[in-house]
Symmetry: C2
Subunit: 461 residues, 2 copies
């Protein structure tokens, strides 16, 4: 189909929206390794996981055989309100780059949470409500996940308790207010509402907190309150399952115009967006039906896939959560203070880690000033102010488009634009003022993190 | 057509998007009164207006006979990137209110400027570029218009100089950074870059500035710099013309499903959104083809239509701009400091003022705590965080829906959701913390503003 016939934005009709999530694990020969009980090093049972997570979500977490899982009507109703998201043809960017490549992006930022996180938040809230729970707890750093969960809980009239890293709570009061608008209770972490919080406050008075500490407080609260469970916005298999709606819509939109992507690019922190975007395409590759290049883009300052170890590690710095086998920088790893955006998790989804390990996916790391340069160029021609996280994918999509310019190839490049940067203007300001710097950890820096990866038989790396 | 068959969101196809703007003045028997030269009290000539505004825009400003005006291809290309905006069926709000009314809203917030302002900004930037100008100047208060203009100028590679009210510049650094991302030069007003700015700084050291002062600085800069013109985001006839794209899309979407609105509601500051939304429907009413109720909603603290005078007045507090005949509170009127949102302009579009004066439109005023209550309720069920301005229309749409509940009428209510509230979280915080107050000016308060309306023969009120 010629260039002119493809519209700027492809919106699926409501009737064309996915009715089932796609579970990529069903098509993997090498399944992602199971979560382990940190005390026994044995696979977590359904019962053990049920103490922390909702029952139905535990089933989804452990299900690596069902290829498709029905999306309940109540969730589809919500998706109809916030979705479909547009698949955008980046005509203006192509023109600016003067590239023969055709660039498409799936834009997940046109909802009030500002990102794709809502796709899983609504599913997790639904199953909590269906189980008759009173509420859920979670942690949030920059606030995208907390905002999404607050919206989802408000929709299902579920109590929502968010532990927000204290330094973010103070520096990002607007994110906090959005969550409050949706009725969430937002507590700066560490707090005196939990034993772990009080312990940390006693040991480190005046600390700004960390994501690991906020996870520990959220898990403790969920475990100690009747009718509450803990929910998480990335890393887990269930999250990738829900996020497959991104990839399914993308594929349906491309199929309508007969477009076959050559390269699919996503930013990667814990893997929620990347996993969701590539899943249906990866399924085709795993089944030997088609071939695609998949590129995970991570920050050079937090390079879990490109420089991490493939091993069992703790999911949180508090070491209270199960062990997951993944590419990891060690649960004690924290990106240097000059790191502006998200994508700061020390590990990576077990599913994506396995796929990367098995050679189905590539990974590259990029430095943040180059990422913000790409973000600004994109914003000016495409009219969307991207989140710093999303801009990692933009940077590599532009790089690949420029390679096409050299070779003259008309490749179809698809990338995930996960969200908007309205709450990240402090980082943009640093960039404008020339105060943004890059940082690549040395091997010695990384070794400190690796030293914290637990040692036990079968966990050699 | 039954309830179920209407989707949550109606998106026009690109091929269905408007190719012409609609000029409501062509269908008005009583044309809006012409702008007057403040010195001579004679109608501003094309030549006089051309010293301040772009030539093509002057023509559009003065054209009250051509019903349709072609949208140039270059502008339609941009519209294809940022539009169409969805017409949303508020199923969740209807359910929450338990009303038989069918509620629809045209959502203009899904672009980086966060509002409908972009529709006119791109047109004004295009005509400036086409005229071979180097750049444009403008003022901005809260920053929606400035952001939109920065985006538009970036697209056409035009210099953009924004005078931002100093108190906003300091209190809303994120808006400023969005504008900088798009390459705009943002100057806090009053500044030492203009004669009028220096004069005000000398008289009032440490002042936070005002919109009127920022207008004066922007006009002075445009007039004194070779290759520059001044542009404005509301009030003017040309702005209503460009914004008619909102109403045309709304009408096309409703027509596809055979929906005839009973009531059309819009918030009203200077009239840019309201005028754009209602124009094509108003045209049918003016031509006697259909009847609709139109409701303008304004803040009780800045009630130009409901309590103002219909008279010639200055468009700016600096009294350097032409006189416009409009409903006005006097160019010296400033809403009380507790007024949180926009919609703080002292006057109203001449076109809308005339239509209101002739009885084609109703107007109501609402208090801001009630507006924020409606905003929060809307956000929680519809998943969109509305701008305070837009929430005025939400409030009255909800009121009308509740009246339908009493009477059992299945009315079709359409309102304009002009934008998002991401940069208004300080106001939301005040509301959450119970610190938001209401204010209704007394007759004595208003009289002070009326005293500033110029007295000359024919301007009795």
């Amino acid at each position: 189909m010629s260039r002119q016939e493809i519209p700027y934005k492809i919106y699926l009709k409501e009737s064309e929206m996915p009715r089932q999530w796609y579970n990529v694990r069903a098509d993997m020969k090498n399944k992602p390794a199971p979560l382990l009980n940190p005390a026994t090093h044995k696979p977590m049972t359904e019962e053990e996981l049920g103490a922390v997570f909702c029952d139905e979500l535990v089933k989804q977490e452990l299900d690596d055989t069902d290829r498709y899982i029905d999306i309940p009507d109540e969730i589809r109703d919500f998706y109809r309100m916030c979705r479909p998201s547009p698949l955008v043809r980046a005509y203006c960017l192509e023109k600016k780059l003067d590239t023969p490549a055709h660039i498409y992006y799936k834009f997940e930022g046109n909802n009030t949470s500002g990102s794709h996180k809502l796709n899983s938040a609504i599913a997790q809230a639904y199953y909590a409500k269906k189980q008759g729970l009173k509420g859920v707890t979670t942690e949030t750093g920059a606030g995208q996940w907390g905002t999404a969960l607050a919206m989802a809980c408000s929709y299902f009239e579920l109590d929502c308790q968010v532990y927000m890293v204290k330094v973010s709570y103070e520096q990002k009061p607007f994110r906090r207010e959005v969550m409050r608008t949706y009725g969430a209770k937002v507590t700066p972490s560490p707090s005196d509402t939990t034993a772990v919080g009080r312990k940390i406050l006693a040991a480190h008075p005046g600390t700004g907190g960390s994501l690991g500490c906020a996870i520990s407080e959220a898990v403790e609260t969920a475990a100690s309150k009747q009718g509450y469970r803990y929910v998480l916005g990335s890393v887990l298999n269930q999250v990738l399952l829900h996020q497959s709606v991104i990839g399914l819509e993308t594929k349906a939109a491309l199929d309508q115009y007969g477009i076959v992507p050559d390269i699919i690019i996503g930013c990667a922190g814990g893997g929620s967006n990347l996993g969701g975007l590539i899943s249906p395409f990866m399924g085709e590759k795993l089944r030997g039906e088609k071939d695609y290049r998949f590129i995970a883009v991570e920050p050079a300052s937090c390079p879990s896939l490109t420089r991490g170890k493939f091993a069992y590690d703790f999911c949180d710095t508090g070491m209270v959560c199960p062990l997951a086998k993944m590419y990891t920088l060690g649960s004690g790893f924290i990106p240097s203070p000059n790191h502006a955006g998200g994508l700061r998790y020390h590990g990576m989804s077990s599913t994506l880690s396995q796929l990367y390990h098995d050679g189905y996916m590539e990974a590259v790391s990029v430095e943040q000033t180059a990422v913000f340069e790409a973000a600004e160029q994109f914003a000016r021609v495409e009219g969307i102010l991207p989140a710093p996280e999303s801009s990692h994918a933009i940077k590599v999509a532009m790089d690949e488009a420029m390679k096409c310019k050299e070779t003259g190839e008309e490749k179809n490049i698809v990338f995930g634009l996960t969200g908007t940067g309205y709450f990240d203007m402090v980082a943009y300001q640093k960039f404008h003022d020339g105060q943004m710097t890059d940082y690549i950890p040395t091997d010695e820096d990384l070794q400190k993190g690796f030293d914290g990866i637990p040692c036990f038989p079968g966990n050699e790396f």
